[in-house]
């Protein structure tokens, strides 16, 4: 069982990066810190060894999306959101995934596609990086991304 001090060290080392990541999804610091602390609390309780940043990135995505998917969590996020915590995408023409769009896309996508949505449009990972992070082929990533884009386009068309 890994001692808590190792987790403390991992929290100090990776915590700021993970909070920034959670903020890009949740758009407020309080909920972002909650998500990251809950993750480390669980790792300590399970006696799981502290892990690397890519693993923690996946875990934070998962937990932050659970907050977005929960109706009460979603309402709270929309109330608290601060746009400055999520910078504009750097790729020209990239899908801009605000909290509202993220929430609505989450309702239409399964877990695998939600992961790709966040990895590509919130964390701006390349398709190769997404493939490596989730242990799937580049082709699979491409297919999932196409499905995400189609869902976003369908939402935009409905809104128009």
């Amino acid at each position: 069982m890994a001692p808590a001090s190792e987790h403390e060290a991992a929290y100090q080392r990776f915590g700021p990066a993970l909070v920034r990541k959670a903020e890009r999804i949740l758009r407020n610091r309080e909920d972002a810190v909650d998500v990251v602390q809950a993750l480390f609390t669980e790792l300590i309780a399970r006696g799981a060894a502290p892990v690397d940043l890519p693993y923690l990135y996946r875990a934070v995505s998962n937990r932050a999306l659970n907050v977005v998917r929960d109706a009460r969590g979603r309402a709270r996020l929309l109330e608290r959101q601060q746009a400055t915590l999520a910078p504009a995408p750097r790729a020209s023409g990239a899908l801009v995934v605000g909290l509202d769009l993220l929430a609505r896309l989450c309702d239409r996508l399964d877990a695998d596609h939600r992961d790709v949505l966040v990895a590509r449009y919130v964390d701006e990972l390349t398709q190769d990086e997404i493939a490596a992070l989730y242990g799937v082929s580049r082709k699979t990533v491409g297919k999932r991304l196409a499905r995400v884009d189609a869902a976003a386009a369908a939402l935009a068309a409905e809104g128009a």
């Binding site: 990066a17 990541k21 309780a45 998962n62 504009a88 992070l133």
Partner: protein, 227 residues
């Protein structure tokens, strides 16, 4: 600082964070640095990381009591609509010709999720406790589920105090995993309570839960804390 577009493919936030943590191998780090020298958009993103001096709140202390009996010995388990002490439940199952392997005490077998195990999490003044025995008004409570990835279960939480039954969270479907937190937290006011977690392949019928139905439900009694 918004609106700047990358000159090529943006350097991902993960890669920028790993650069800041000096985790990238030398060749990758050199490639990324060359991009940052040429790209104002990505250099701006990296500056956000490098200049983020906001202090990180302390991690809440976690108490894991190694001497305490296993959690399932302290949860009351409901089987066949009758709430039983865990020991009695084991005896009942042992006497019955087994058609389906019984769930472990405290676990509930849910169609589409297999055995789902419940854990109650209390945060009190920054200290986390799992499956505690007492409650105070300022405690913050969450429920965690463990079940095999790939499955999903509907969860509803009922707080029973005498004849009062409250439902602090919306019923929701939760994807299985290891200690998955059910979204949402709640508080319990007015002292002693029994927290019951209903699990099933669809949302529980709250009227039946109010009426005392306990099939597919695990409950935990909490005494009022002295302080």
């Amino acid at each position: 600082m918004s609106g700047a577009a990358c000159i090529g493919e943006p350097v991902s936030w993960l890669r920028l964070e790993r650069l800041a943590l000096a985790e990238l191998d030398a060749a990758t780090a050199a490639t990324v640095r060359a991009h940052l020298d040429a790209c104002a958009a990505c250099a701006g993103a990296f500056a956000r990381i490098a200049e983020d001096a906001r202090p990180l709140p302390r991690l809440p202390a976690v108490t894991v009591d190694a001497t305490a009996p296993p959690w399932w010995a302290r949860w009351r388990v409901a089987i066949g609509g009758i709430a039983l002490a865990a020991g009695a439940a084991v005896a009942l199952v042992a006497l019955r010709p087994a058609t389906v392997a019984p769930p472990p005490p405290g676990g509930v077998r849910v169609k589409g999720a297999g055995v789902v195990v419940v854990r109650l999490v209390r945060e009190r003044a920054g200290v986390i406790a799992f499956d505690p025995d007492d409650v105070r008004e300022d405690d913050r409570w969450k429920v965690e589920l463990t079940c095999a990835p790939g499955g999903a279960a509907w969860v509803d939480v009922a707080v029973v105090q005498g004849r009062e039954v409250a439902f602090p969270l919306a019923p929701q479907e939760v994807a299985c995993g290891n200690a998955v937190a059910v979204p949402g937290a709640f508080r319990i006011t007015d002292g002693a309570a029994e927290v019951c977690v209903a699990l099933g392949p669809r949302a529980a019928d709250r009227e039946k839960l109010r009426g005392g139905a306990r099939g597919g439900v695990v409950c935990r009694r909490l005494t009022a804390s002295g302080t």
